[in-house]
Amino acid sequence: MRTIIVGCGRVGAGLATQLADDGHEVVILDQSNEAFRRLSPSFPGQALRGDGTDESVLRRAGAEGADWFLALTNGDNRNILAAQLAAKTFSIPHVVCKINDPVRAQAYATLGVNTVDRTMMMIDSIGRFMGRPAMPGATNVTRAVPRPASVADAGHMPNDLAVDRTGGR
């Protein structure tokens, strides 16, 4: 099982270590070598410095034929670009994209991207700790709505998103 992780932050580095322990062939990418200090010294995978939104870098990282692709940088948009490259250009079957802006997260879940939204996860878990009811779906990766065709032909998002569509009139 080959897994590519873009972004060696706390989550990326932690997951890389665990997945490598599970026997995944892990390649983790980051723009800065400093970030790789977060990996455990015994990390058996590959740490590659490079831009995870650059097709040629991803190719070098072995994106072709990878099983999992996790876009976990600090930038929502960088994750969105990397995730769509992985899914469309490299046809990686399982792609997860971290998007911390809830509006964008929901929008892209509707567009066919598996998203994980830290903001909603924290609101949910703190709320539950305080005795509020769980928010549906917030603790999990939001599975993309299955779509028959590509994103480009997939038509439009439903109108029930949390954006005021009448604003600015």
Binding site: T53, K88, T89, R104, T110, S150, V151, V163, D164
Partner: protein
């Protein structure tokens, strides 16, 4: 026409200026407060200090009635998200993205961006025009970038030299279109024999170019493709 420009760098600034001069209704979104302030001093209230990647900010700017959204920041990821949000969330009929990494062009098109502007590609094309031999020259893009109109010059070391079209193992998705010899265009017939100095105009799918180059030119590309 109501246009939203996202990104107040050089391109966004001058684009806004020109569009205003032509009398278009316009909002320029720039997320950096200092840049926004500077532009406001120059162009007035058309600039808003807002992030065009945020759905709520796009809504405030009036994306739901915009005819065109042009994302011209220096960041490809930002430009993609602006266009996708505009297209799929606000039904904007026409989205334009500046693409800095030419390799993102096909992906952006596939993801529904209507128009791609690639400064890198433009400079690259200008440089290629100046290279007399041994290169594929991109003359034009057809079918929204799916197909390229290409010129290849047959040099003394070309594998195609002295051969007929049927002797050349062309990749699928690639057609030899016309031949320019002694500054005259002629159609390529089955009995045409390629000679040194011939220019072959071909139409090729983008992904077949490497093969086409190998068949007609033979040498490795001089520019990093």
């Amino acid at each position: 026409m109501f246009v939203i420009v996202v990104g107040g760098g050089r391109i966004g600034f001058y684009l806004t200026k020109e569009l205003l001069a032509e009398g278009h209704e316009l909002v320029l979104m720039e997320k950096d407060p200092r840049s926004a302030e500077r532009i406001r001093d120059d162009l007035g209230a058309v600039v808003v200090n807002r992030d065009g990647c945020e759905g709520t900010h796009l809504a405030e700017a009036g994306a739901n009635r915009a005819s065109i959204v042009a994302a011209v920041t220096g960041d490809d990821a930002d430009n993609l998200v602006v266009c996708q949000m505009a297209k799929h969330h606000f039904d904007v009929p026409r989205t334009i993205a500046r693409v800095n990494n030419p390799r993102n062009e096909a992906l952006f098109r596939h993801l529904g961006v209507d128009e791609i502007i690639s400064p890198t590609r433009m400079v690259l094309a200008a440089i290629e025009q100046d290279i007399p031999v041994h290169e594929l020259l991109h003359l034009a893009q057809l079918e929204g970038g799916e197909l390229d109109l290409i010129e290849a010059q047959i040099a003394g070391d070309s594998p195609a030299l002295g051969r007929r079209p049927s002797d050349i193992d062309l990749p699928d998705g690639c057609t030899l279109f016309v031949l320019i010899r002694d500054d005259k265009a002629q159609s390529i017939r089955p009995d045409t024999v390629f000679a040194e100095g011939d220019k072959v105009i071909a139409i090729s799918r983008t992904e077949c170019e490497t093969d086409l180059r190998r068949q007609l030119i033979g040498a490795a590309p001089m520019l990093g493709a």
